[in-house]
């Protein structure tokens, strides 16, 4: 004798906290039929060990009582997100998202569509019974027009409740799903079609072909308010009219097989870590310098600060660089601060810089007054200085923008400023370290090194010509 019996489920449902062999579902509920078809399929296809089912919020929340496969409970509507991660990280797993209509089509609609749009390797089984079952028969996105539920007691009204969502058709708008079919478990003929569809979806997972979506119309005798047979009839006579059965898409033949995952790359090699240590600046006494660079987005303010910070680092100093950021970095004021120190640096933000670079008028108005007494401000010549100047601050203007233009590299005004800073010995960093840092900053565009070197030299020449040095005039 051969026995036609349930496969792939636990013999006794001890996870429910009892010794029962009955489900928690109401009599005549379609979930049980679908559960059996699914477990039969993963056993017959030899996939039981590889299967992970993401259990939804909804009546099937306790699917793991029954299915003898890997199980995890999702948050409401989030089964596709969880299945995405499991499938991406464990590519040999057969990942199943089993969801009802409140979970998949209401709270989880966005996640459902996004996972389908990404073509995640997962089998989605969508149990459409036109109702929220577990929470007590409320209206779902799939509830039919005129259908009475606990939250549409007079029947779903399109004027206030909208129209039913057709999930299989929605998914069919997307490019990557491989297989989309709507089936039903209302009678024998339909159950056998559903059985085929469920097996096909798992075969596609087994063959690493991609996303599958099987919508299953299912009776909910409790909420459809009749006998189990009435509910099955309701599915055939009413639900099917709104949600016609059939295969919407099958591109199994042409779908590409998922590639094998990449192998890990050694990180030391990836980052070019040669095991070297940065030099450490040996100083007799603690010395901290605080700089600020200001101007307009696009003038290279942030990269100028980075070159200075990089040079300080090469000198063995502790260094921080802090940019202005957020919306303002896209076309408004630009500023960054650099702090160099022989000891651990506290605040990276600089309220009162001892050296300030100003490259446009707005920055002048905002920052010139903040310079620390005894400090230096290097200002582009296009900036008109205010009538009232800060006390005890050396203000030097050089035509940085003009020098850059004259050398045919208008974008290199920041480099001309660097030339000025070197000439003025404003940073307490040796010139050769600053020049090397500048050249390092063009490592990815070596063609630009020569022209920038020219601009730098022109600015330094300008300063020498005008007697601008570190010595106070």
């Amino acid at each position: 004798m051969a026995t036609l019996e349930t496969k792939g489920m636990f013999d006794v449902f001890t996870r429910s906290g009892s010794e029962n062999r009955i489900t928690h579902y109401c009599a005549g509920c379609g979930h049980g039929i679908i559960h059996k078809l699914l477990s039969e399929a993963y056993v017959d296809l030899g996939l039981q060990d590889r299967t992970v089912i993401v259990n939804p919020i909804g009546c099937a929340v306790f699917g793991y009582y029954y299915w003898d496969v890997g199980g995890v409970s999702a948050g409401h509507g989030q089964a596709p997100s969880m299945a995405t991660a499991i499938s991406r990280l464990k590519d040999k797993a057969v990942v199943i998202s089993y969801q009802g209509d409140g979970d998949l089509a209401a709270i989880g609609l966005g996640h459902t569509l996004q996972a389908a749009a990404r073509g995640e390797h997962m089998a989605v089984f969508f149990v459409n019974n036109s109702i929220y079952g577990m929470t007590g028969g409320q209206m779902a996105p799939t509830t039919l027009i005129g259908q009475k539920t606990t939250t549409s007691p007079f029947g779903r009204n399109p004027a206030t409740d909208g129209m039913p969502l057709h999930m299989a058709e929605l998914i069919n708008q997307l490019d990557l799903p491989v297989y989309i079919e709507r089936v039903s478990v209302a009678d024998t003929k339909r159950i056998m079609k559903a059985r085929q569809a469920i097996r096909k979806a798992l075969e596609i997972q087994r063959d690493r072909k991609g996303y599958t979506f099987v919508e299953i119309l299912s009776p909910c005798p409790t909420s459809m308010r009749g006998t189990p047979l009435d509910a099955a009839n309701f599915v055939i006579e009413k639900l099917e009219k709104e949600y016609p059965l059939g295969c919407l898409r099958d591109r199994t033949a042409e779908a590409e097989v998922r590639p094998e995952p990449a192998t890990w790359v050694n990180l030391a090699k990836f980052f070019g870590d040669d095991g070297s240590e940065d030099p450490k600046c040996e100083a007799a006494e603690d010395k901290e310098r605080r700089f600020k660079f200001t101007g307009f987005g696009g003038q290279g303010i942030l990269s100028l600060g980075l070159v200075v910070a990089d040079a300080a680092r090469a000198m063995g100093l502790e260094t921080t660089w802090l940019p202005s950021y957020g919306p303002e970095q896209r076309g408004g004021d630009a500023a960054c601060t650099v702090v160099t120190s022989t000891r651990t640096i506290g605040a990276p933000a600089v309220e009162n810089p001892e050296m300030l670079v100003v490259m446009n008028q707005a920055a002048c108005a905002k920052h010139l007054k903040t310079v620390k007494p005894g400090g230096l401000a290097l200002v582009d010549s296009t900036v008109v200085l205010p009538a009232e100047l800060p006390k005890d601050v050396r203000i030097v203007q050089i035509p940085a923008i003009e020098i850059a233009m004259a050398n045919g590299v208008p974008k290199a005004a920041n480099v001309a400023i660097l030339g000025g800073l070197i000439a003025l010995d404003a940073l307490s960093i040796p010139a050769h370290l600053l020049i090397e840092a500048l050249e390092r900053s063009f490592a990815k565009k070596p063609a630009l090194i020569e022209t920038n070197r020219k601009v730098l030299q022109a600015a330094m020449d300008y300063c020498r010509h005008h007697g601008l040095t570190g010595e106070l005039p």
Binding site: A2, L4, R21, T23, G28, G32, I33, K36, I191, L229
Partner: protein, 83 residues
């Protein structure tokens, strides 16, 4: 040689039946019925009438419960029929 042919029949686990009657309605031979006795959950479980089963498995696939109804089917006869 052992006996090759048995008659098929539905093996029913009465305590797992919720009496939804899906199998009764689906059985093409009408050989299932709701019994008059109660199972331990107080449900009148389905029962086999005792004859008529052709082993088609329709009751099994219509049944929403994993363990309420199974179908025992005779082995397929070897080619050439029974010896």
């Amino acid at each position: 040689m052992e006996k090759q042919f048995d008659l098929p029949y539905p093996r029913i686990e009465a305590d797992s039946c919720k009496s939804c009657e899906r199998c009764v309605a689906a059985c093409p031979k009408g050989c299932l019925e709701i019994s008059e006795t109660y199972n331990r959950f107080g449900v009148k479980a389905v029962a086999y009438k005792g004859s008529g089963c052709i082993g088609c498995g329709i009751c099994f696939y219509n049944c929403p419960e994993p363990y309420a109804i199974h179908v025992e089917k005779p082995d397929v006869a070897p080619k050439g029929g029974a010896q």
